[in-house]
């Protein structure tokens, strides 16, 4: 098992394998996005109270899920990077950060756009909004710490420690903020036994969630590939790879 992980973690093997996987992830993302968006924006019935405006949840909710999911991925990568010193985990961690920040930002912006007609204001100091905003700060902290340290190996370790500290704190922050103030409608999907959302709305929502996962997989592989090339620019295999591609 460990041997297999180490093999996968070696940059040249990762580079070749990810190159093969990338078109698949891209295709799956495009297909699920078309399905989810068409289903969500045209086929799903109108909401009784919220009208057509509710349809933004097909972007908003999956983006909010991704914002947390990606932080968990980053923390896992951070732990792997610190414990086994696998370079690829460092690369994955730092490649994930901007994507996670983007999803957090999308969740905040779509939430604000939705909030204007529904709550009558773009922003309320509601628990979920606030903890999402703090999550955005955590992402930005990771990105700026990485950018500030010149030696990228050191920077990766710093970021790994920060991601782990962050992941311990996220539940604490989340529940503190929840306890502090809440207006946001309760979760409607996580109650798996009997979701309070109708099935015709649930399906596009879940399809969009899957689609965003593929988008993340696609983006993180693209970023990680560039990062790997940049880090290993002096090594033989990169030279072969580049020369093989151009001539």
């Amino acid at each position: 098992m460990m041997k297999w992980i180490h093999r996968l973690g070696s940059p040249p093997i990762f580079y070749r394998l990810s190159g093969k996987l990338l078109p698949w992830f891209t295709a799956l993302f495009v297909l699920t996005a078309i399905w989810g968006l068409y289903d969500g924006l045209f086929l799903a019935p109108m909401d009784l109270k919220q009208g057509e405006g509710y349809r933004i949840i097909f972007i908003h909710v999956p983006a909010a899920w991704m914002s947390l999911f990606i932080y968990m991925v980053m923390a896992t990568c951070g732990a792997i990077a610190l414990i086994w010193r696998i370079k690829l985990a460092e690369v994955m961690l730092i490649s994930s950060a901007p994507i996670g920040a983007m999803f957090t930002f999308i969740a905040l912006v779509t939430g604000a756009i939705w909030g204007k007609p529904m709550w009558g204001t773009y922003w309320v100091w509601d628990a979920r909004l606030t903890s999402e905003l703090i999550l955005l700060f955590l992402y930005l902290g990771v990105i700026s710490l990485y950018g500030a340290i010149d030696d990228k190996r050191t920077a990766s370790r710093a970021v790994a420690i920060l991601a782990l500290v962050g992941v311990v704190n996220i539940p604490i922050i989340h529940y503190s903020v929840e306890w502090w103030n809440t207006l946001h409608q309760g979760p409607t999907v996580t109650k798996f036994d009997k979701p309070s959302i109708h099935i015709s709305m649930l399906i596009p929502l879940l399809v969009m969630a899957v689609s965003f996962k593929f988008y993340y997989a696609m983006m993180v592989l693209m970023r990680a590939r560039t990062e790997v090339l940049q880090r290993e620019r002096n090594s033989r295999w990169v030279e072969n790879e580049i020369l093989g591609n151009t001539g």
């Binding site: 902290g141 050191t154 704190n169």
Partner: protein, 230 residues
């Protein structure tokens, strides 16, 4: 070298604590700076939002806590800065004792020289903002429980950014989001007391944060220091 390995852990802890306290007291002006900052920030608020006594009374717990947060953050850099620059930190890491305990000693010294003065001056400021006397006790209690958490969590941020030339702004970006739970529970404890209810829940929560931070925060600090010095 033989002697240092014979040093018991508790003696090493006390020795480092004493050394840091002496160093701090030899630079008294630096000690006063965060405190002055705290007082000035509190003074600015009535000037900014108006001198309406009712408004200030409502805002007092939050104001004091936000100001304490900022003051604590500004003083964080001094936990490791001078030791990092003259190489002492490297020696500490090379010593036979676990870094986590030494980190705890340094953070304790830092809290005694920055957190404690803050607590001592806060009743005066709370009184100026018109906080009621029974809420004062709760405010002091929350500061007692909360400021050590700020020092401990802040130490993680400092350890991560100590090698950077311009670590200050990044430090605030890293540390302030992590301060949110303390701020929420501490100011809410005081506000609940002001409105006449028992704040024991929030205070237990702060105590839990403190226990959690004392036991866990030294680990990432130690890891980050090793990273910063490698």
């Amino acid at each position: 070298m033989q002697a240092s390995s014979n040093f018991s852990l508790s003696r090493a802890f006390l020795f480092l604590l004493k050394r840091d306290l002496i160093l701090a007291f030899r630079q008294r002006s630096e000690l006063a700076n965060p405190l002055l900052f705290f007082v000035i920030v509190i003074t600015l608020f009535p000037l900014g939002v108006g001198a309406d006594a009712k408004l200030l009374k409502v805002m007092a717990p939050g104001l004091i806590w936000v100001a304490a947060l900022l003051a604590a953050m500004l003083s964080l850099d001094s936990i490791f800065r001078s030791d990092f620059e003259d190489g002492t930190l490297e020696q500490l890491i090379l010593s036979a004792h676990p870094i986590t305990v030494l980190v705890l000693a340094k953070v304790t010294a830092h809290w005694l020289t920055t957190g404690l003065p803050l607590i001592l001056i806060s009743p005066l400021l709370a009184m100026m903002l018109g906080l009621s006397p029974d809420a004062m006790g709760v405010l002091l209690l929350t500061l007692f429980l909360g400021t050590p958490v700020l020092s401990l969590v802040g130490a993680i941020g400092v350890a991560l950014t100590i090698g950077l030339r311009k670590g200050g702004v990044i430090l605030s970006l890293l540390v302030l989001p992590l301060y949110v739970p303390v701020l929420i529970f501490a100011s809410s404890a005081v506000m609940t007391t002001v409105s006449g209810f028992s704040a024991s829940g929030q205070i237990y929560m702060l105590a839990a944060f403190l226990a959690f931070a004392i036991s866990l925060a030294p680990l990432p600090v130690a890891a980050a220091l090793r990273m910063s010095l490698s």
